[in-house]
């Protein structure tokens, strides 16, 4: 028996270990290889069982649901009859994440360009470090900062938006109250995903080959034109996947939303009115009072969130993988 023979058509991705001769297998090798392989398999098993367990419990909940899981505007699994639906949660999750993306992506690209191409060289790496520190702050701390500091602060901005952009309807504030709304949640989420989008974009921008930038410079391009000609085309797919990673974070964020939002199961297009909810926030808010069936209902909503983030992250990874092939072909 030989175990270390490499098939000739093995994929090129990890640096291949030195070609080992076909030797009789040592017990140590066998054990170690088995252990490391086992860990890899364990991860797959965990992933599979996450999907399986969530689906199983979600099925229990949905079969007991008297409402429509996708269209009901209510969450009352303890009621008689039990009724719950994710319509409002899906809407709130998507809207707050979209607001976060609209704010965060341009700013993150700007910061990434600042660090990679504008900042004085001595400042660049401390700045990159500061941005990484933003990523290290736990989300619950963003949450209480958002609720106790940002919310009162945004009151003025809200009434300003209301009076000048109220005609757009989405910025029409129909009730008086603190800014515990989806718009504030979006801003807070934007701040939270800023570091991840920034650091991935920055990495890509720094990889732009020097000679591509010099080509533009030697043609008499201004700094902005160098960025437009060389840096942005090279980094576009990287920025897209960075944004999707950020989106994945925003979709699943729990504590920051739970602290800031004043939830309700009313469906409203007015972003500045308190209310709405997200998947993760709803789980945090409803968990304490939920009985076993209520928990299954929450698990069902969590399954939707799981699938959503899976799709977004999978897409981001695919783009990154495609980009690797592309740049490798040109190296």
């Amino acid at each position: 028996m030989t175990t270390t023979v490499i098939p000739p058509d093995s994929p090129p991705s990890p640096p291949p270990p030195p070609p080992a001769k076909a030797t009789p297998t040592r017990p140590g090798d066998k054990i170690f290889r088995g252990l490391s392989r086992g860990s890899g398999i364990l991860l797959l098993v965990v992933m599979a069982s996450i999907a399986a367990f969530l689906t199983f419990r979600a099925a229990i909940a949905i079969s007991g649901n008297e409402g429509n899981f996708f269209t009901t505007f209510d969450w009352d699994p303890a009621g008689n009859p039990p009724v719950f639906g994710i319509a409002v949660l899906l809407y709130g999750t998507v809207v707050s994440s979209v607001i976060a993306m609209v704010i965060a992506v341009p700013v993150a690209v700007g910061i990434a360009l600042f660090i990679s191409h504008y900042a004085p060289r001595r400042l660049a790496s401390p700045l990159a470090y500061v941005v990484d520190l933003l990523a290290a702050v736990p989300s619950i701390i963003y949450g209480i900062w958002g609720a106790l500091f940002l919310v009162p602060y945004l009151g003025g901005l809200n009434s300003w938006l209301d009076s000048y952009l109220g005609w757009t309807l989405i910025f029409d504030k129909t009730e008086i109250g603190p800014a515990r709304n989806l718009f504030t949640v979006g801003i807070l989420l934007a701040i939270m995903i800023l570091p991840i989008v920034t650091s991935v974009s920055r990495e890509v921008f720094l990889q732009v080959p020097k000679m591509n930038e010099e080509a533009a410079l030697a043609l008499g391009a201004t700094r902005w034109e160098v960025i437009r000609l060389s840096v942005l085309p090279f980094g576009r797919s990287g920025v897209i996947s960075a944004s999707m990673l950020g989106l994945g974070r925003a979709l699943g964020e729990t504590m920051a939303v739970a602290t800031v939002l004043s939830p309700s199961f009313l469906f409203s297009g007015h972003l500045l009115d308190a209310g709405g909810g997200t998947f993760a926030q709803n789980i945090a808010a409803k968990f304490d009072e939920a009985n076993e069936f209520g928990r299954d209902a929450l698990i069902a909503s969590g399954l939707v969130l799981f699938v959503l983030t899976l799709l977004v992250n999978g897409a981001a990874r695919l783009i990154i993988a495609r980009r690797k092939e592309y740049s490798g072909a040109n190296a």
Partner: protein
């Protein structure tokens, strides 16, 4: 369209390290001037000071004057961006914009300026590609990416891109060092044609190449590693190779060092 370059008392630095020291020379219009010398003698650095690319390198700094027909490139009111439009450059490794087609690569410099008409643009692209002896090879695939060409073709594409904006001077930093002999020959022929229209400065490691393509040759040297590079002499190419006035030049050319 060709200008004379007058350099006087020029030194260049990387941070605190002095890379070249007190260089003065004149580059004649419509001729090819070759820079030769051992590695690290500062000839590429010097070349990059002629279109203010040196200051792009972090810590890069220049002292002295470079006159382009009486206008000092390093005057405080001079915009480095317009300097680089006037003095084009071709790099050691071909560097077409990887995401652009062949056509867009050549048109890139013109598009930056914004003032062009569409048919004018395609005329300039064709003229430049012809000028770079590349037209016949690529005219059927102008919309294919420039990175799909061979190394020699890519380098000629870069030359076409550089001459499309009608510069006064064309700087070439070892343009053939990454190419095979046949592509090298094509580029050398091209240089011979281009000097009718442009002032050309070429850095090369290959002394036969300097002898083949240049009218005048400048020899650079450095006293020791870590010392700044200096201009030893500049003269007619024939004189430099046949009967140089400095011993070090003769030693270098005859292969005694470097």
């Amino acid at each position: 369209m060709a200008k004379r370059i007058d350099v006087s008392g020029l030194s260049a630095f990387y941070g605190t390290h002095k890379a070249i020291d007190d260089i003065s020379m004149t580059v004649e219009p419509r001729s090819v001037t070759a820079f030769i010398g051992p590695s690290g003698c500062g000839k590429s650095t010097f070349l990059r000071t002629l279109n203010r690319m040196h200051e792009v390198t972090p810590g890069g700094r220049v002292e002295g004057k470079v006159l382009l027909d009486d206008e000092n490139l390093y005057d405080s009111h001079v915009d480095p961006v317009s300097v680089r439009r006037t003095v084009g450059m071709v790099f050691q490794r071909p560097n077409p914009f990887p995401t652009m087609s062949i056509y867009d690569n050549v048109a890139a410099g013109l598009r930056l300026n914004g003032s062009y008409k569409k048919n004018e643009l395609s005329d300039v692209v064709e003229k430049s590609l012809r000028g770079a002896n590349l037209w016949n090879e690529v005219k059927d695939r102008l919309n294919k990416p420039g990175s799909g060409l061979s190394g020699g073709q890519q380098q000629r594409l870069c030359i076409a891109r550089a001459i499309a904006v009608e510069p006064q001077v064309l700087l070439m930093d070892e343009p053939c060092s990454a190419l095979d002999p046949i592509s090298t020959l094509a580029i050398e022929d091209l240089i011979g044609e281009l000097k009718e229209r442009f002032t050309i400065v070429i850095v090369t490691h290959n002394m036969q190449q300097a002898a083949r393509v240049s009218d005048r040759t400048a020899f650079f040297n450095l006293a020791a590693v870590g010392q700044p590079g200096k201009l030893i002499e500049i003269d007619e190419t024939e004189r430099i190779f046949a009967n140089p006035s400095v011993q070090a030049t003769e030693d270098y050319i005859s292969g005694r060092f470097g």
